[in-house]
Amino acid sequence: MHHQIVRRAGAERETLWVLLAAGVILASATLAVGLRAAPDAEAPLAAHLIDSRTGLTAAEQGLYADLKAAGEEIVALRTAAGRAPTPEELAAEALPPFAADPSAAARGGHTWTFAETGHEIAYAGVSAAPELAGSLVLRLDGHGADIWLKRAAEAPPAPPEDAALSAAGWKRIVSTFTAGVNR
């Protein structure tokens, strides 16, 4: 004897299967995301580095961008004239941030000095208002520009070597690229 129960017509079973399928998809997606998650790329910066995106004030970000552009200009002038231009000459050319204009005053009113050590040249700007923007050092060797920052109204050690700057509490500005960088 075989007992056959006639089941009611309806979408209950189909609904159950659809829900089960949705559950399986969600579970497998969660599993895949969990297993394949990218490692946390934001390694903390070394003590002598500071991030240009997150670590600088607005004025410092402006000065940093200007100094990077000015670094290329200075390298070109040095190649053309055979010697490095002084801050006064750069100010005369109205090259920011060396030019003494209202913008420079609003961004800390830096006083720029110049030092040359062999092949390497350095421009040091001592801030008059460290709460707006710290003091800055632009170092140029043959290969590129290094920019250092210290939030104090003080001149960098001479000569401005890496070790000496770090020891004196200066921080090199670097750009880190993480998942948050979208431009």
């Binding site: 004897m1 075989h2 007992h3 056959q4 129960i5 006639v6 089941r7 009611r8 017509a9 309806g10």
Partner: protein, 242 residues
């Protein structure tokens, strides 16, 4: 293999807010000709749809098959809706309903559609266009499709309504043959005289079961009037049931 017994236990069916069936409990014995009678809208066709698993019923409907597994259930609908202009022959129509092979590949030669048509008196009309058949002939074709393969349970929804005199005679012969073969027959019918003559048991249904018993005893004028009256008397039904 003889046919199954059917048990309806407290079957309710509500569509929207309309109560179609209300606590229908009914037992159809194996191998009997069980007639369902009742007024239009009484839930006869709905009970059949529930039995075929096509209605959202509540309660239990159970088929007790004598063998190890379910057998063949055949269904003859009251009528078939289709486009009369359809270029479909009688054989094509049977092929659509009866074979596993897609009908556009042609009728399956292993299935003898001719024999089934012969049993309903439609021999030689296999190539006729289905839309050109008369109502009685179409009803015979619907009977023929229920015979392929040989059914263990056959559910008939007012099969005699469209049949002519000759068709009715053929139907009676078929009913006798199927009954002799042990097939369980559940038969919805309006014609109470035929039910008295041919059925072994009859159930009066108007939303609920009003009577259930042997046709000769049950189809008395009083009960029939009660069955077809606008407001079925619940108390009377209970008196009869007890």
């Amino acid at each position: 293999m003889t046919g199954p017994a059917i048990l309806f236990d407290a079957v309710d069916l509500t569509l929207g807010r309309t109560v179609i069936l209300d606590g229908v409990s009914l037992r159809v014995a194996a191998g009997t000709v069980h007639a369902l009678v009742g007024p239009n809208g009484g839930g006869k066709s709905s009970l059949i749809r529930a039995l075929l698993g096509q209605a959202p019923h509540r309660g239990t409907i159970r088929l007790d098959w004598p063998g190890d597994g379910p057998g063949t259930v055949a269904y003859v609908p009251q009528s078939v809706e289709f486009d009369r202009g359809l270029p479909l022959t009688v054989e094509d129509f049977l092929a659509v309903l009866c074979q596993r092979r897609p009908a556009f590949l042609g009728p399956d030669r292993r299935i003898n559609y001719g024999a089934a048509l012969d049993r309903v008196g439609m021999a030689g009309k296999a190539r006729r266009r289905f839309g050109a058949l008369s109502g009685g002939e179409r009803q015979r074709v619907l009977l023929a499709q229920a015979l392929i393969p040989a059914p263990d349970l056959i559910v008939l929804d007012e099969p005699m309504t469209a049949l002519d005199e000759a068709g009715i005679a053929i139907f009676k012969t078929l009913l006798a043959e199927l009954s002799a073969a042990g097939t369980t027959i559940l038969w919805v019918e309006h014609d109470l005289a035929q039910v008295r003559r041919l059925a072994t048991r009859v159930t009066g249904l108007n939303r609920r079961v009003l009577f259930d018993g042997h046709p000769m005893e049950m189809l008395s004028p009083e009960r029939v009037f009660d069955l077809f009256s606008a407001v079925p008397r619940r108390a009377g039904a209970e008196r009869i049931a007890s």
